[in-house]
């Protein structure tokens, strides 16, 4: 049920030179449930790319296929290829990928509840050696997230949701990644905190050169910060383009931004798209 037809004129980033490229992958859970049906996308070095779509579209599955957290959930890439800096990575373990610079920040934050904030951050450096450098990176994380420094001795289970999201991102930074797969950072957070987190993502991207593949239901904010976007529906990419052209696209406005030619839609008018309620930013 592709509501959105065809792609617009925007040029797809060149997959050949991309930091990460996903080529026509299929993902199956439990040997039978086909979830991704040929997804392709590319993340050029130094960019923020958004992966958009409704509940169950396959965003998380795509990110987990890349980080290979899929295997722990009995999922499997059965077709296609994933290339990171030109290397096939579908068979690598999450540990191998983290060492190569690809790390996922999972949906729902997943902090270690009984570890302190600082211990959580330090677990991110598990694959690294060299205490002095790790200390320096810890200071760097605290510079980006000053709130975490104030709470460094608190158990992560007891801090606020926004702070937990910061811990999750900070923890990933401690691995010194070149590419962060960021899954729904806005989930369950107040708009102000969401904004704060996206601002930090942008600064990390610009100052530290970290590339992001960002899965979001909140299309509005994601397209505000991303360079390029892909829209997934039912395990397929139905539309992609640079952020500005996606924002201008009528279908995107109607179905994903809750706007139409006649201005903002009321909830009632889009009732039959209930599934997408959360999209209305």
């Amino acid at each position: 049920m592709a509501v959105l037809a065809g792609t617009d004129g925007a040029a797809r980033p060149d997959a050949g030179g991309a930091l990460l490229s996903v080529n026509n992958i299929e993902v199956i859970y439990d040997h039978v449930i086909l979830v991704l049906k040929g997804v392709s996308l590319a993340v050029p070095e130094g960019r923020i790319v958004a992966l958009l779509g409704a509940n169950g579209a396959g965003k998380t599955t795509t990110l987990k296929a890349i980080s290979n957290l899929l295997r722990a959930e009995r999922g499997e890439v059965t077709k296609g290829a994933i290339l990171y800096r030109g290397e096939r990575v579908e068979r690598l373990s999450p540990n191998d990928l983290v060492r190569r610079g690809v790390i996922q920040v999972m949906e729902g934050r997943h902090c270690f509840a009984h570890l302190t904030v600082e211990e959580n951050l330090l677990t991110g450096a598990f694959t690294r050696r060299g205490g002095a450098e790790i200390r320096r990176d810890l200071d760097l994380v605290y510079r980006y997230f000053p709130r975490l420094e104030q709470r460094r001795k608190s158990l992560a289970g007891y801090i606020s949701g926004g702070e937990q999201q910061m811990v999750a991102i900070g923890r990933a930074l401690m691995a010194r990644p070149r590419m962060i797969l960021l899954d729904e950072p806005s989930m369950g957070l107040a708009p102000q905190i969401v904004e704060e987190i996206f601002e930090i993502v942008r600064r990390l991207n610009r100052a530290e050169g970290v590339s992001f593949l960002l899965a979001e239901q909140n299309t509005n904010i994601a397209l505000g910060y991303a360079d390029y976007g892909y829209i997934l529906e039912n395990g397929r990419v139905v539309l992609d383009g640079d952020a500005a052209s996606l924002r201008a696209n009528e279908d995107v406005k109607e179905f994903y931004l809750g706007l139409s030619a006649s201005g903002r839609k009321s909830y009632r008018e889009v009732k039959h798209y209930k599934r997408r309620k959360r999209w209305l930013a």
Binding site: S67, L69, A72, R74, S93, P94, N95, L97, V98, R99, I103, Q104, V105, M106, H110, C111, F112, A113, H114, L115, E119, N120, L122, T123, G124, A125, F126, T127, L155, G157, Y158, G161, R171, A172, A175, G188
Partner: protein, 311 residues
């Protein structure tokens, strides 16, 4: 009336008459409790890191002690035998990860529990095949003389055992709190998936916890073996670990230690002072009754982990 005498008046009278004797009994019990604590600790480590209820923990104690005493009997020097047994327990952890845990990853906990029952039978058989089924005396020259400290009679060996166990627990605590691997172990215990996502390899972590549980088992095995001889009944110590776990909470390291001490001291006191009222042998079932009471009134145990829930 007679019952009242047997249950209340006589025991309390006995305690009041000779409080030093009570103290002796409690101390003796605490020192036995240290052994229970060690076995329970092995359970807790594995349960926390992998969610597996390791039925084989008791037999690991027996197996480690058998390997140790067997090598001593072959004429190996003490330190060599100790190191070699540690190496065997680590090798065992590798084999268990490779042959049992890895193929069963993502299976239901009950299936993994069954697998540990399989490990139990395998290790029992292997131990007897290699080292024979006879009772072996273990004497590594630990002092065994009774001592009088402050008017209280204690056994020197029990003190040594307690000191060794204390050192082991302190060492483990340091390892868990201060090292990167220890932190990773706690992270895995909290959230497997998140641990994977930051690049902590679960397989390595499992090998480490099973090795640590094996080494803790070895220490327990040496202590018990010195007391009782190395024999199959060592594996049954594990049956005492179950009530200890119910008391302390399955996921709590301090709980395992305190639970072991309570069970050890409790059953001795019950045996000595209340035993006559029941015709003796309370020691054998006291721990289970205590555990039952806990299950009814405090099922998460003394130190059952606070469940942090926050969205």
């Amino acid at each position: 009336m007679e019952l009242l005498h047997a249950l209340v008046i006589d025991p309390i009278g006995a305690i009041a008459d000779n409080p030093e004797f009570l103290l002796e009994v409690v101390i003796g019990g605490l020192l036995t409790g240290v052994m229970y604590s060690l076995v329970a600790l092995g359970f807790v480590l594995i349960y926390k890191a992998s969610g597996i209820f390791n039925f084989a923990q008791g037999v690991m104690v027996l197996f480690a002690a058998l390997c140790f005493v067997g090598q001593l009997q072959l004429g190996m020097p003490l330190v060599m035998a100790l190191l070699s047994t540690v190496a065997i327990m680590i090798a065992l952890a590798f084999v268990i990860e490779r042959v049992v845990l890895r193929p069963l990853v993502n299976q239901e906990p009950i299936i993994l529990f069954m697998a540990t029952i399989g490990i139990t039978f395998f290790l029992t058989g292997l131990g007897q095949l290699v080292w024979g089924g006879d009772v072996k005396t273990l004497d590594i020259g630990l002092p065994k003389d009774p001592l009088i400290i402050g008017g209280v009679l204690v056994n020197e060996f029990d003190l040594t055992a307690a000191a060794v166990a204390g050192l082991l627990v302190a060492g483990l605590a340091l390892f868990f709190q201060k090292t990167s691997i220890g932190r990773a172990l706690r992270a895995v215990a909290d959230d497997h998936q998140a641990a994977l996502s930051v690049g902590i390899p679960l397989k390595t972590i499992w090998v480490i916890v099973w090795s640590v549980a094996g080494i803790v088992g070895l220490v327990a095995g040496i202590m018990w073996g010195t007391n009782l001889g190395v024999q199959f009944s060592l594996a049954l110590v594990a049956l005492k670990a179950l009530p200890v776990l119910i008391l302390g909470g399955f996921t709590s390291i301090p709980g395992a230690i305190v639970g072991g001490l309570i069970v050890g001291a409790g059953e001795k006191v019950a045996e000595v002072f209340w035993g006559p009222a029941f015709g003796g042998a309370i020691e054998d079932w006291f721990a289970y009754v205590l555990a039952l009471v806990f299950l009814l009134f405090r099922p998460q145990g003394l130190f059952g982990e606070r469940i942090i829930e926050r969205v």
